[in-house]
Symmetry: C2
Subunit: 162 residues, 2 copies
DNA sequence: TCAGTCGGTTTGAATTTCCAACTAACTTGT
DNA sequence: ACAAGTTAGTTGGAAATTCAAACCGACTGA
């Protein structure tokens, strides 16, 4: 039994699986993409993602309940809300950027698509390094660590803030 | 009409959306997680992800048809295959790592989960920087660029290799 | 007054996923 | 030799999710 095995029938409970429970539902990342591009209103998010309105409603509620986004009222009568990223939501940027970079390298086909760039003006060429040792992450540099739960506190500078 | 707007009804065709068409289907990233942890066989991938076998079959076929993974025969009679990451598949590492890091910061709850670490031994603390200017990526540093398609060739060192 | 906007909700149909059982071709243990 | 187990699927029917379009209430602007 190597460390990468799991018990006979239990799926691997890890933080990748946990993150996907929130971010991995259909349309969730596209909605977050819109907010990081400065689009905050329901109708525009629905149009720009292509999600149907009922599903989008449900996704936004899930993201809100997990503290990834927040609803900000911008009109009293009638009550109207905008959707904004929280600190937690802003920190999905590396996920979107890695995805955009991978996709623009490997998903080139005949259909023209919007590319992305860094605010410095350059094409997307993100490099992911370990803050500890400075080495670049690559295949095989990701390894399973110990089990953690709430018992291990979230660092103060990372605590949920809405 | 700001650059972040889209035509009245067309969803934004961008590389994030394109990448999610392949990587964003349910179970796809978990299957890729297994392969990057060294698990290459159907039964074990099914058990470790929790995906039902028919859906997993379908996902693996999709990933294969997009060149993200390849089937490697390891037995002639009966024909049996292992699933391995291609170059393209290996390069999803930054996506998985960013997701794992985000999740272990923000998705702490009572259920204990496997954490991840870098091969240097440190906890996951990935930093995403722009290869061009060296600045760290953050919210707002991702901007839309021009439309691109096959016309713009994939760099030779990045061409699909199976 | 009348069309249009905004953020949804409702409805019923279409699609996807789930699960358990089944298969085929082996291999291993007794 | 024979039974049991392993492996990589496939099948079928039920359950869950998603879809698209219509509808709604409270407005706004012409």
């Amino acid at each position: 039994m190597t460390p990468t095995d799991t018990a006979r029938d239990a799926p691997r409970a890890c933080f990748i699986a946990a993150g996907l429970e929130v971010l991995g539902e259909r349309w969730a990342l596209l909605a977050l993409r819109e907010m990081s591009l400065g689009v905050h209103r329901f109708d525009q998010i629905a149009r720009n993602t292509g999600a149907s309105r009922d599903i989008l409603t449900s996704r936004l509620r899930t993201l809100e309940s997990h503290g990834v986004i927040e609803r900000v009222q911008y009109s009293e009568h009638p009550p109207r809300h905008e959707y904004h990223l929280t600190i937690s939501g802003a920190e999905i940027a590396p996920i979107l950027i890695s995805l955009a970079a991978w996709s623009s390298t490997w998903m080139r086909d005949e259909t023209p698509r919007a590319s992305y760039r860094h605010s410095c003006g350059a094409d997307l060429k993100p490099v992911l390094t370990c803050a500890e040792c400075g080495e670049e992450f690559r295949l095989g540099s990701l390894m399973l660590g110990p089990l953690v739960s709430t018992a291990d506190a979230i660092p103060v500078d990372k605590q949920r803030q809405i």
